[in-house]
């Protein structure tokens, strides 16, 4: 991944790289738009937390993380899974609950895992994944591996005690954890001002002597650059790093959210500076994108989404006889 590429400020000039970032953001966008329809059609059930509006974060961050790095995410992790390279078919099949899903259909939309890509889920107890990430980092450190564990969570998670405990432990033990707060200004309906007495979230890292920054999470380059810098510090062994990535979710918290807690105008305002429009405008302005290329990328993405649905539709169900499988590790490993 990114480590062999030129540093981000030069990468920004790279047409190919720009198109890849755009493609990934569009893939997440179109993929999730499709899941909205599939949810309405009853193909996907349970909760479905869309990442639409926040794509620049997962896409920008993954660019700056290496294959050997570990990723821990939340229930809003489809975007992260796709950006990490989990095949769209495996992600979609998981949402269907099929056995060819990335968690064999056992996990569903909130619990996507892909061990082969060090993609460690998919945690739906808010803040519950953070200590887990600290532990992965501890294992890396104890085994002398210079990997980063990148842990994504919403700003709502920062009110939970586990966030505080984990920041402290990671700092005390100088563990290679990159804390990535996706501040989308709401925890379900609760606005930031009702969540945190110190709404400048990046300042909270000071309480643990953890270096921190606030980053425009709507700007994929800004995310990429900040994560590259932070990950480098973490990889050097300087201990944890905290980034507050400022963003906004364009959809409801989960499907069926009437969003009585915010005004349509507020959403519209944010949509204007959405990560994809913004990036497309910029690339056009910089002469890095023309209509034909954009159309080609859209076609490419549409094909991938269509393929993912086929995979999901055609995938098998786990046999009901296997209900109690995968509770314990079988004797042979």
């Amino acid at each position: 991944m990114s480590l062999e590429r030129p540093p981000p400020h030069r990468a920004a000039l790279e047409r190919e790289h720009a198109h890849e970032l755009l493609r990934q953001m569009l893939l997440i966008r179109r993929f999730e738009e499709r899941t909205e329809e599939l949810y309405a059609a009853g193909k996907i059930r349970g909760f479905l937390h869309l990442y639409i509006g926040e794509e620049a974060i997962a896409v920008g961050a993954m660019q700056s993380l290496a294959e050997e790095d570990a990723i821990v995410a939340t229930y809003r992790e489809h975007g992260h899974a796709l950006a990490r390279g989990v095949p769209a078919g495996a992600v979609m099949a998981e949402m269907y609950g099929k056995a060819n899903g990335c968690s064999r259909g056992r996990g569903g939309s909130m619990h996507m895992f892909d061990g082969s890509r060090r993609f460690y889920g998919g945690h739906a107890i808010v803040a519950g994944g953070i200590p887990f990430a600290v532990g992965l980092a501890l294992a890396d450190k104890m085994q002398g591996r210079r990997h980063v564990t990148a842990c994504f969570f919403g700003e709502g998670a920062m009110a939970e005690g586990e966030f505080h405990e984990s920041m402290n432990l990671a700092a005390l033990w100088r563990l290679p954890v990159l804390f990535l707060c996706e501040n989308n200004l709401y925890a379900i309906s609760t606005p930031l001002a009702a969540q945190e007495s110190e709404p400048e979230l990046h300042l909270k890292a000071h309480a643990y002597r953890v270096p921190s920054e606030a980053v425009d999470g709507m700007d994929v380059y800004a995310v990429e650059t900040a994560v590259a810098r932070a990950a480098a510090a973490v990889r050097r062994g300087d201990g944890p790093y905290f980034l507050e990535l400022r963003t906004y979710r364009f959809r409801g918290h989960s499907m069926g959210d009437p969003q009585r807690y915010r005004a349509k105008e507020e959403i519209a305002e944010w949509e204007k500076r959405g990560p994809i429009v913004q990036f497309v405008d910029r690339l056009r302005r910089d002469g890095l994108l023309d209509d034909a290329t954009l159309a080609a990328i859209e076609r490419d993405v549409a094909d991938e989404v269509a393929w993912s649905v086929e995979e999901a539709e055609g995938g098998p169900w786990e046999p009901v006889e296997d209900l109690e499988k995968d509770v314990y590790t079988p004797a042979d490993g």
Partner: protein, 322 residues
Amino acid sequence: MAKLTYREAVRAAMREAMAADPRVFLMGEDVGRHGGAFAVSMGLLEEFGPERIRDTPLMESTFVGAGIGAAVGGMRPIVEVMTINFSLLALDQIVNTAAALRHMSGGQFSVPLVVRMASGGGRGLAAQHSHSLEGWFAHVPGIKVATPATVADAKGLLLAALADPDPVLVFEHATLYPLEGEDADDTPMALGRAAVRRAGEDVTLVAYGASVHKALAAAAALAAEEISAEVLDLRTLRPLDVEAIVSSVARTHRAVVVDEMWRTGSFAGEVAATIMEQAFDELDAPVARVASAEVPMPYAKPLEDAALPSAEQIAAAARALF
């Protein structure tokens, strides 16, 4: 009697209590602006204002603990822990403070706290969002546990909980919110009284919460086979209405206990053991249990369906006793 939904019944109980007693207030995640994750408290913020309908940040341990303190300080808090799945984060406060405070202070303090939460599986929410752990709470002396299965109980048991001087946990099964039924009448309900939901003579189906409806469906199926099943709804797990259980089994001589908890260590085990202890000589067959499969809840629908107790399984378990 007016018809309303289980959701509306819970809301009605809260409105009534808040209108009658200025000490009553509601706090929890998204109870205000959002109207609650299950739309239970919809409209209450507008009606009672943000002082009494308090949106909390995510911090289960602290807002439950604050509820305990507020109760001791003279208020009558209703704390909504959005779902039972997150109550694990607050369990220390419930066990070590709410349940213990009265005793460990030598009876100086009462903790008139109500904690409400949605429980159970069946909605495609997988391993972390489908728990049924009511039996754990029912294990703890110092608290009481209500598990309303009907619309009338959703209101009546909550009002009883609010009238109780001690901490009461109310588990609202998440699949029941849309259920329609009759309003409770005005007679105050007592905690600790089971109810016969269908009378029968050949076997007692003991259940609570959403399982009551599965037991009723099983009873209907059994009736077609000339097996007359009585359905007993426990309504509260602590206090447990042992007398009602025993008196039903003393008539039917057979029992199936239904529980959405995992089988091993389920509350159904407690009920079965109690029946044996109190009515051994009445039993014509061992008490059977129908509970959830021993697996973290799978997402895939066929697997989830198979993991949860079903009317078919209940009927089959009853049949096997003859």
